[in-house]
């Protein structure tokens, strides 16, 4: 082993080993394909779900579907089976926690490019994402190499130690007798959540420093306008046969309490008004708002923190949307949002 060998022999040995390694690893990743980048699930293998940013495109590429659920964590706990039951459409999720509008639209666009026949897109309208730049992203290292048609950058997927680890996980998961979970379970966080008033109130901060009213000024309006135009309306216009359903979630009363205390209540309502007014310019967009469901929002046991409600609220929202409850129209949205403002401005909070 320690005997000196001919450099040519040494070189050929090293190059041959590298070649064998490259072929073997590439073939294993291609065959198992833990994120379904090259093909759908391999027959006989069961797949654990990982972060949606790695799996969204694979699902959009290789699954059959007529409807998409998109959005952030407030949409992650939706069950596709409920959509299927209510609307009758086979559904996939394209959610991603904390995604900006740009990113959310990106997933929707990719899915629509893979499957232009999609009839319904349900997507969240997050207050925290309204006024963001048109190409803002929440993270720097989104695996974009999975979201294009270039075969060259697939090397980042094929020769990636974390992906190789996922390959072993798929094999171990299968060997342990597991099956791939239903799409209902994709991206969900409710199994790990703890709900309750104490949990929510623990997230409140000291508001004494917030003394000045935050204005929804021209700059903020312009940013929102561009964000909605680029990351919602353009896609809706390009797909006139697809219905886009947006919903303003029932954030907890503790969230609105925070808005009041940080002097951002008017800002948020004005931002929503502008966003909704823009969304309603397209015929294939519907908008729902559940902020006024005070029976839900004031019961903090429905929540994990100020923003995040339990999955039973997601179930309710799907039913309401299907029934048309809470729908905003050109005629009612201003009065409705003014009512929301009034509710939370005048609510008697007992959070201190």
């Amino acid at each position: 082993m320690n005997k000196t060998i001919n450099p040519k022999k040494w070189g050929i040995t090293v190059l041959a080993l590298i070649l064998i390694f490259v072929i073997a690893v590439g073939a294993a990743v291609y065959y198992v394909d833990p994120f379904w980048h090259f093909h759908g699930p391999t027959a006989g293998l069961s797949y654990p779900y990982v972060d949606e940013r790695y799996m969204n495109d694979g699902i959009a590429r290789h699954f059959d579907y007529e409807a998409i659920i998109a959005g952030t964590s407030i949409a992650e706990n939706f069950k596709v089976s409920e959509v299927e039951e209510l609307w009758g459409f086979t559904t996939i999720k394209q959610t991603a926690a904390s995604a900006t509008f740009y990113e959310q639209d990106g997933y929707v666009r990719r899915a629509l490019s893979h499957n232009p026949g999609v009839k319904l897109v349900i997507r969240s309208l997050d207050a925290t994402r309204l006024v963001t730049g048109p190409t803002d992203e929440s993270y720097d290292d989104i695996p974009k190499y999975l979201y294009d048609e270039s075969v060259f950058n697939d090397v980042r997927y094929l020769y990636n130690k974390d992906v190789i680890q996922r390959v072993t996980e798929v094999i171990n998961y299968t060997r342990a007798g597991n099956v791939t979970k239903s799409m209902d379970e994709y991206g969900v966080w409710y199994p790990y959540a703890t709900y309750g008033r104490d949990e929510v109130l623990a997230g409140l901060i000291d508001y004494s420093d917030f003394t000045e009213e935050v204005m929804f000024d021209e700059q903020a309006a312009k940013t929102l306008w561009i964000n909605v135009e680029e990351n919602v309306l353009k896609t809706a216009r390009e797909h006139p046969d697809t219905e886009f359903v947006f919903f303003i979630p029932p954030y907890s009363a503790a969230y609105w309490y925070g808005m009041v205390k940080t002097k951002q209540l008017s800002y948020t309502i004005e931002a929503y008004k502008l966003a909704v007014s823009r969304l309603l310019t397209e015929k294939n967009i519907k908008v729902y708002d559940f902020s006024d469901k005070v029976d839900i929002t004031t019961n903090l046991d429905n929540y994990m923190d100020t923003l995040h409600y339990g999955e039973w609220i997601n179930d309710k929202m799907l039913k309401w949307m299907h029934e048309g409850e809470g729908e905003l129209t050109v005629d009612n949205y201003e009065a409705h949002l003014d009512k929301v403002k009034e509710i939370y401005e005048n609510l008697e909070y007992d959070y201190e």
Binding site: N6, A97, Y147
Partner: protein
């Protein structure tokens, strides 16, 4: 959808370089050499320009222009009898102006704005890749030609000297006199298994230093530095130590890759790092850290300034009488040289202060050299390393404010230690995988979440301080080194890309 960055790099540690560029260039170069050596050289220049243009096509004219103009200047003042000096000076000014515009213009303008209260517009120019290296290399070239220290060379050889891809973007900074004989030697156009395998071996070790060690350490530094306002004392120290190790493994690894690549093509590039963290003084440190920059600064900055004073030009009689060189001038020159080094490293006051602080401490050690030598070696190493690490923290800082804020936090949070978020940066795939499969290790990693950090930093420190430098030892071609080279290469290859953890903030 989600477009990539507007520019990209073809680093040695990238898939495109390893899978495409390198094999194509090696096969093309040695294949063409069988036909004609000059065509093969031209191919190597073209390949190097492709390597460069991959960064940003628009900057290809910058490097091509720089090569043409410098070569033109050298030809001009070689032939010209009456205005030689002015042509030579113009050549130097051209290079300084080029680097000034691309690297220092915005910095200068923003400082003018700050001082004079003006509102001059910033250009926001993206700096061409490697401009600091190829500009310095060409300034050295002009001086060498002026001093008639170069052999005859043509435009093709000169172009290859400047653009040769292994040393193009991060050094080593080479001189024409050390590369030209190699370029002229047509024997080097023949594929040589011995050199090639030496190259593969050195390249692989460099790749592993960069990818497996430096990048792992870099995650922690990138995570910690933006939190500078809330860092605790232990976190500040850990960040500075880890950054020192990161930069050493990153830069020396990259230079090893460059040397290995050079060797694959039968060209020998000078070594650039020789275990600098073992140094017990700054003189020794700079003799071992970025050696070709030190060599450049000594030859083209320090010596010309130092010997430009009458006091330094001593005749034999003076030397015999024991006339001492004026210490003050030596010290001033030393500080000035380090200041220039600082400015060269980047357009930021942090680099200027870094250069100056190195200059002052180097001068101090120079003045107290004899007394210092009497101190125990361990004490000299410790004091020197504390300064080096301190200066590294400054080197890494985005601004003086960040650095001084961090310094100000040194006395805080000693009971809190290092936060979990920073410790988690060391949860590399391999360690986590092992810990998950060995229950006792898993329990240990939960009880002592700092264990991965301690392991990785201890390993990096050991490698930096204990074994002999890669270039000190002869490369043995044995079955063991073949397997080791393959294993390191394979491990590095699959570590070029990883999966991000998207921490859920704000959901």
């Amino acid at each position: 959808m989600l477009p990539g960055r507007s520019y990209r790099l073809m680093l040695f540690n990238s898939y495109i370089f390893i899978f495409l560029f390198l094999p194509v260039t090696i096969i093309g170069y040695f294949g063409l050499n069988k036909i004609n050596n000059r065509i093969a050289k031209a191919f190597l220049v073209a390949a190097s320009l492709w390597f460069y243009a991959y960064f940003k096509l628009a900057y290809l004219p910058v490097i091509i222009g720089s090569i043409c103009v410098n070569f033109g200047f050298s030809r001009l003042f070689k032939k010209e009898k009456y205005h030689r000096k002015w042509i030579f000076v113009s050549g130097i000014v051209f290079n300084i102006a080029l680097i000034f515009v691309f690297k220092y213009l915005d910095f200068t303008v923003s400082n003018i704005n700050a001082i004079a209260g003006t509102n001059l517009p910033l250009m926001h120019i993206l700096m061409p890749l490697g401009i600091s290296f190829f500009t310095f290399q060409q300034i050295g070239y002009l001086v060498d030609v002026w001093n008639e220290e170069t052999e005859d060379h043509d435009f093709l050889e000169y172009s290859l000297f400047v653009s040769y891809f292994p040393q193009l973007i991060a050094g080593p900074i080479v001189s024409l006199s050390e590369m030209l004989p190699q370029f002229k030697d047509e024997e080097k156009g023949r594929f040589d298994w011995n050199n090639f395998t030496d190259g593969v071996y050195i390249f692989t070790f460099g790749l592993a230093k960069k990818v497996l060690i430096a990048d792992t350490l870099g995650h922690m530094v990138d995570f910690a530095y933006p939190l500078y306002e809330t860092l605790t004392g232990p976190e500040v120290i850990a960040s500075a130590v880890v950054y020192t190790l990161q930069l050493y493994f990153d830069f020396s690894g990259y230079c090893d890759m460059a040397i290995g690549l050079g060797r694959m093509f039968n060209f020998k590039l000078p070594i650039n790092f020789n275990s600098p963290l073992k140094a017990t003084s700054l003189q020794e440190y700079w003799d071992k850290w970025h050696m070709t920059l030190g060599r450049f600064l000594e030859k083209y900055v320090f010596m010309p300034i130092a010997f430009s004073t009458p006091g330094m030009k001593m005749n034999a009689a003076q030397k015999k009488r024991g006339v001492k060189k004026p210490q003050a001038w030596t010290v001033i020159t030393m500080i000035l040289t380090f200041l220039i080094s600082g400015i060269w490293h980047g357009a930021n006051w942090t680099f200027i202060l870094w250069g100056l602080s190195h200059g002052f401490v180097r001068a101090f050690q120079h003045l107290t050299g004899k007394k210092r030598k009497k101190l125990p070696k361990a004490l000299r190493w410790t004091t020197n390393t504390i300064f080096v690490v301190w200066a590294m923290a400054l080197f890494r800082a985005d601004s003086l404010k960040q650095f001084f804020t961090m310094l100000g936090r040194l006395g805080t949070g000693w009971s809190e230690g290092i936060r979990i978020g920073i410790l988690n940066c060391f949860d590399v795939t391999e360690l986590v995988y092992i810990e998950r499969h060995i229950p006792s290790l898993f329990i240990l990693s939960r009880k002592a979440p700092w264990i991965n950090m301690a392991l990785i930093v201890a390993l990096a420190t050991f490698i930096a301080l204990v074994p002999k430098n890669l270039h000190e030892k002869p490369i043995k071609k044995t079955v063991i080194t073949a397997i080791l080279t393959f294993a390191l290469f394979a491990w590095s290859l699959i570590s070029l890309s990883n999966m991000a953890t998207f921490l859920y903030f704000n959901f």
